[in-house]
Amino acid sequence: MLRISGMMFDAGTISQTGGRGEPDHYVAGKATNSGVGRQLATNGQEADWAACMLRVRDHGDRAAFAALFNHFAPRIKGFLMKSGTPAAMAEDCAQDVMATVWQKAHLFDPAKAGVATWVFTIARNRRIDALRKSRRPEPEDLDWGPGEEAPDQADVYAAEEEARELGRALQALPAAQKALIERAYWGDRSHGELAAETGLPLGTIKSRIRLALERLRREMGRD
């Protein structure tokens, strides 16, 4: 299902982005009783966020929520700050996004989206609400209709796996190309503004984004 064609959207300046920040700290002591302790003890990249999310959804598991908070809240904050949100507001929004993760856990479906994807959509919508006082209409829900089987257990984590694969491919891009794609998601900056900032013609910026996405597609081996 993963398909990246020559998509184009607005982007910000071309620049090196920051590192991954401090390693995650988990409340391992609290987590050991919940049965997710082993997963929480691994590093952030390999931790099983979908399993944590399902424990939050199905059991209201607080240790699993704490693990998700420790990983995602600083990333939401960083993402929102890159989008132009002041630090204090980004911190508040990250708290709100994580509160929404708890409240709306029933909407999480690992067959449809990985945890990072799901958290991203909540953070994005929070940003639209906070900065533009607006909203983003959502497409109709895809239900497993009558006559359709829910996906096999083996397929349940396919979305999470694909998301990780895409994350690795993004990391493997040259810094300038990765930055272009990132900035497209930080949002609300036009190609025109980017052209003004960098002095590059619009056509050059667009073709560079296209090249970045083509490379990403090659990295994914889905040509």
């Binding site: 607005d10 991954r20 600083p74 960083g78 856990a105 953070a123 909203r135 983003r136 497409p139």
Partner: protein
């Protein structure tokens, strides 16, 4: 529903995934995605890429006591129960939400020559309207020069050479004075009317 004749551009889907579209254009995209599996799959991929950007991006440490505050807050937050499936209407869910039901619920206003329209409530960066164009009526010129994205919901629409039937479509139009920059370059209308 009518046959999908045009797919959304990656540029438009990218802006939708990033949350950069004015609400009116977001509505047209959401309605189209409800009807077009191909564009929905592309849209989901672009959201997955957004998740990867967030997940691999810079982590800015939260303030002291942030986790404690979050955990304390959970006590006051009820986890919502699993929602009952929404009642289906004859129109895609995102549109039904804006008109408060199916097409029978639309409060049309005449704009002349038998053409009727209903403006939908969105933010003011752009406007969204339903248009009801009877068969045999020439395509109205509603005098708009900005970007327009139009989706045919019902009936057939032809740009002048023959077949006309009753056509109901959803159109988003730019508010030229309020929105500059991105949108003019996203122009890929389904139909210009």
């Amino acid at each position: 529903m009518t046959t999908i004749r045009h797919h959304l551009s990656d540029e438009l889907l990218g802006a939708y995934a990033a949350g950069d579209l004015p609400e009116a254009f977001g509505l047209v995209v959401a309605v189209h995605l409800s009807m077009c599996d191909e564009c929905r799959a592309r849209s989901m991929t672009l959201e997955t890429l957004g998740g990867a950007v967030l997940d691999t991006g810079e982590a800015v440490p939260m303030g002291e006591g942030a986790l404690g505050a979050a955990m304390a807050r959970l006590d006051a937050l009820m986890q919502e129960p699993k929602a009952a499936p929404k009642r289906r209407t004859g129109v895609p869910a995102p549109l039904a939400e804006y008109i408060g039901g199916d097409l029978d619920a639309v409060r049309w206003k005449s704009v002349g020559k038998g053409v009727k329209q209903a403006i939908l409530p969105t933010d003011r960066l752009a406007s969204a309207r339903l248009l009801r164009i009877p068969g045999g009526v020439a395509v109205p010129d509603h005098g708009h020069k900005g970007l327009e994205l139009t989706l045919v919901l019902q009936g057939a629409f032809s740009d002048g050479t023959g077949r006309f039937g009753l056509c109901i479509c959803l159109a988003a139009t730019e508010a030229p004075l309020r929105f500059k920059g991105l949108m003019p370059r996203l122009a890929q209308p389904f139909f210009r009317i």
